[in-house]
């Protein structure tokens, strides 16, 4: 659902369209050149998976979600980063330390507690609620050395590009260097006619 250009703090990189299933836990393996926005240095690798509403629709239909629930999902914008901690003994994923913004305007995240009410309205089963929960990025994770994590972070649909600033504390006691990665000019993808 997000589209367009990523810029890390250390530079910009080209983009290709992305399409694959979202891991909750990315596998360690030789890494092909990523499609979509990405950033890498000696400490972290981050990429952002982009899916169109059509792809999201197909994914959740394939998991037998009802259409009312899928429509709730399609009414939002999914940003799906995959993060690999390459160097720190602990790298802290804390979504409260991430900011979505456009210029000076902050874009609030849609948090986990938004969804239960929507699932009540749409009559989504407990199994499907559980599946959906596992596709979301954890709120907090002490990412260990060589550990990866992936999942969706949700914001309201945006009609203009936005910036995602990710701040990570490091070290078991969070006293290590603060790592900041900025992805600029992200967009919510819409299906092309």
């Amino acid at each position: 659902m997000i589209k367009q250009l990523m810029t890390g703090t250390l530079g910009s990189l080209p983009i290709l369209a992305a399409l694959f299933l979202t891991p909750c836990h990315a596998q360690q393996a030789p890494r092909p050149v990523p499609s979509g926005p990405w950033y890498e240095d000696d400490a972290v690798f981050i990429r952002i998976v982009q899916r169109t509403p059509e792809q999201l629709n197909a994914f959740y239909q394939g998991r037998e979600f009802n259409q009312a629930a899928i429509d709730q999902i399609l009414g939002t914008c999914f940003v799906t980063p995959i993060i690999h901690n390459k160097r720190f003994d602990v790298l802290w994923l804390e979504l409260d330390n991430w900011q979505f913004s456009r210029g000076a305007q902050q874009i609030p995240r849609i948090e986990r507690d938004y969804w239960p009410g929507k699932w009540e309205q749409s009559g989504l089963s407990q199994a499907h609620r559980s599946t959906f929960g596992w596709t979301l990025m954890p709120e907090v994770r002490d990412l260990r050395l060589d550990e990866s994590v992936g999942g969706s972070v949700v914001i309201p649909l945006q009609s203009h590009p936005f910036t995602l600033t990710m701040n990570f504390h490091s070290g078991a006691d969070k006293q290590g260097p603060l790592k900041t990665i900025v992805f600029k000019d992200l967009e919510c993808i819409i299906d092309k006619p």
């Binding site: 596998q27 499907h128 559980s130 060589d146």
Partner: protein, 175 residues
């Protein structure tokens, strides 16, 4: 003469160091495994795809490889063939491989496993509640439960279980 003795001592010391390092390597955990605190494993009572009930409290006396997964998860799909590959290498009375599918229908589970891991019969956590109780760090996740029913290790994400490093670890468990 003194030089020769010193050289011999140095060579012997180097050899001892190498042996010691090799031994440490065997005792070192493979990449991506965390040591847990040995707390008691949460309850796990589920039916498998054949409708057979499985209860962790009746599985004492052997190591358990408790693996949480779902077919929609990319790393799970990649990892599953490596679990299939190790399945015949271990006697279930020493190391039992317990797959827990998280919140998918039996049709989906059956169709997926028939293709990639036909020898494995998973437990079905139909509503995902057992998975929630175990609190894996994500899917896939693998817990190692010791013969006394305590959580000893956690594998972070998908691991290539059929490679030497991980096989050696598994063999050490049941030794």
């Amino acid at each position: 003469m003194h030089n020769r003795q010193a050289l011999t001592r140095a060579v012997v010391s180097a050899c001892l160091l190498l042996v010691s390092l090799a031994s440490m390597a065997v005792d070192t955990l493979p990449k991506g495994l965390l040591v847990l605190d040995g707390r008691e494993a949460p309850p796990l009572v589920l039916n498998d795809l054949d409708g057979e009930r499985w209860d962790i409290s009746e599985a004492r006396g052997r190591w358990l490889f408790v693996h949480f997964w779902a077919s929609w998860c990319g790393p799970c799909r990649k990892e599953m063939p490596t679990i299939q590959a190790i399945f015949p290498k271990f006697d279930a009375s020493q190391l039992e491989i317990v797959l827990v599918n998280t919140a998918e229908s039996e049709d989906v589970v059956f169709t997926f496993l028939a293709e990639v891991a036909p020898d494995l019969t998973p437990l079905v956590d139909a509503d995902g509640s057992v998975t929630e109780q175990w609190q894996p760090r994500g899917l896939p996740s693998t817990f190692f439960v010791d013969p006394e029913g305590r959580l000893q290790y956690l594998a972070l994400g998908g691991r290539p279980w059929d490679t030497t490093e991980y096989l050696r670890f598994l063999q050490r468990l049941v030794r």
